[in-house]
């Protein structure tokens, strides 16, 4: 795997973790479309106050590596319930 692919994969994980992409579903192994990823990056960029480019540019990667709160930025009630169920299991 090239470094570029690794970076893309880490970014996808980051975007899922903070609510910009739907969380991965192990039953369907849903793949993210290029458009979906770009849309998520744009929302993340708008939320974070950096230029909206839709691509993983240096400023975006820097923001993704900035220390932060672990709660998602886009919170769905479904997400919170899932996490609580996971904890109980």
């Amino acid at each position: 795997t090239s470094a570029g692919d690794g970076q893309y994969s880490r970014a996808m994980d980051w975007l899922s973790r903070y609510g910009y992409l739907p969380p991965p579903d192990p039953r369907t192994s849903r793949l993210q479309t290029k458009e979906g990823m770009e849309r998520a990056i744009r929302v993340m960029q708008r939320f974070g106050g950096v230029q909206e480019t839709g691509v993983l540019d240096g400023e975006t990667l820097k923001l993704m590596s900035t220390p932060r709160c672990s709660l998602p930025d886009i919170v769905g009630s479904e997400d919170m319930l899932k996490r609580r169920r996971r904890r109980k299991r």
Partner: protein, 442 residues
């Protein structure tokens, strides 16, 4: 601002502390200070809305105090679906109000170096606590700047005694709990004064690896998979892509890089090969190729295979520094004041490994940087970083002949060491390669 849709249906709230920051990592924060800092953080919210916060102290029996908002310092997996991730990354989280057992729980990552008014090598507890208590009261992340509810850590707020929430945050909390009238601060008016912020220097000196890490003089420095490794003796430190140090304590080379000879206590140079992402180690007159963290079979092999001959025709028996320059994708090896350039994109690289014609050349061609560097990496936007003793010099992308290259401190900028009280750079000589000043004086 954004609201979670959840709130407390009361305005008198209680809170308690279940655990404290680990004294070894956050020595500047005794328990009393933690309590005072958290009390001030609650006060920020009760100054803006009609809320009252009452601290439930431990009864001394070891029994855990309860309350609506329970604060703890935890590491990694801590059974709430939001594992922490070691130093950096995620710092803390809190659960929104409600009847759920975790509602109001506020957790701080105990792998962080928590401080009160510390420098950039630590994380300000007050700033993060105000943010997390915002969640515990029902606020979500805000995209507004300024807002304490922005998800990213922005550094410490200036003065915690006079801290006031910004408009966005005041409107958010008032939307949930109403507008405050009167002067009741909602917390004990006789709050103890916090001492002068702890000196970051004192904090760092308590760290046992401080001297080794902050003295500089690294055997080798390498950019591997976007992280910078600083090798010294039998150990190494690792700085992540965001500039944070993975740990203040060094890791043992033998425990991480599997396949080097037992007793390895000095590595001359290391670099990651661009064509296949393998990692090349040079020790004395031999070299090893690693796939990830394990040496490939058939190594070590003799350095003579690289075909490096000095201008006098002698075979090179040791490499001082090695790096691949992002500017042109070529690999450079340095030894004894000379350097050779290699094109490793050639498909026959495994068979013949010869320098490009016209080499060696003198290190002095890299104007403005020391000619006998410890090691070099490509970093940032393709810039070349030269490391020597406890300083580094940056040649901007493609630049070879920059007139003035100001040295900066490795210890301060890369390894979370405190800035020295006086100047941190050597006297800036006109010809830095002739510098004879005490580079380790920092």
């Amino acid at each position: 601002y954004a609201l979670s849709g959840l709130k407390w249906h009361k305005t008198d709230l209680t809170w308690s502390i279940h655990s404290y920051p680990s004294p070894s990592l956050s020595p500047g924060l005794p328990k009393d200070n933690v309590e005072t800092i958290l009390t001030h953080a609650f006060k920020a919210w009760s100054d803006a809305a009609p809320l009252r916060f009452r601290h439930l102290p431990s009864d001394g029996s070891g029994a855990k105090a309860g309350g609506d908002i329970r604060v703890s310092f935890s590491r990694l997996l801590h059974d709430d679906g939001y594992p922490f991730d070691g130093k950096g990354g995620t710092l803390a989280h809190a659960f929104f109000p409600g009847r759920d057992e975790v509602a109001g729980d506020t957790h701080f990552d105990d792998h962080e170096i928590w401080s009160y008014g510390g420098d950039s090598s630590s994380t300000d507890l007050f700033t993060v606590a105000v943010h997390e208590f915002g969640h515990a009261l029902g606020l979500s992340h805000s995209s507004t700047d300024p807002s304490i509810m922005r998800p990213y850590y922005q550094g410490p707020v200036k003065d915690i005694h006079n801290f006031k929430l910004d408009l966005d945050d005041r409107l958010a909390i008032q939307q949930l709990y109403g507008v405050k009238d009167g002067t009741d601060t909602g917390v004990d008016p006789n709050l103890p004064r916090l001492p002068t912020p702890s000196s970051p220097r004192a904090t760092q000196l308590s760290d046992p690896s401080f001297h080794e890490r902050c003295q500089g003089g690294f055997d080798a420095v390498a950019n591997i998979r976007g992280e910078v490794f600083f090798f010294k003796g039998a150990q190494f430190w690792r700085t992540q892509q965001d500039g944070s140090l993975l740990s203040l304590n060094p890791a043992q080379i033998k425990n991480f890089w599997i396949g080097l000879p037992p007793g390895t206590n000095k590595i001359d140079a290391v670099y990651e090969r661009r064509s296949d992402s393998n990692i090349i180690f040079f020790i004395g007159s031999q070299y090893w190729v690693f796939k990830d963290t394990v040496a490939m079979s058939g190594y070590p092999r003799p350095l003579s295979e690289w075909g490096m001959r000095t201008k006098r025709g002698a075979l090179v028996d040791k490499v001082d520094a090695a790096f691949t320059w992002a500017h042109n994708g070529k690999t450079y090896l340095f030894s004894g004041g000379e350097f050779w350039r290699f094109d490793e994109s050639r498909k026959d690289k495994q068979v013949t490994r010869n320098p490009e014609p016209g080499y060696p050349r003198d290190n002095s061609l890299w104007a403005g940087v020391p000619s006998n560097m410890d090691d070099i990496i490509s970093w940032g936007e393709g810039d070349a970083y030269f490391f020597k003793d406890n300083f580094y010099w940056v040649l901007k992308n493609g630049g070879l002949n920059q007139d003035v290259v100001t040295p900066k401190s490795i210890a301060v900028d890369w390894l979370r060491c405190p800035a020295p009280p006086s100047t941190s750079t050597p006297n800036n000589p006109q010809i830095p390669k002739d510098c004879r000043c005490d580079l380790r004086g920092s």
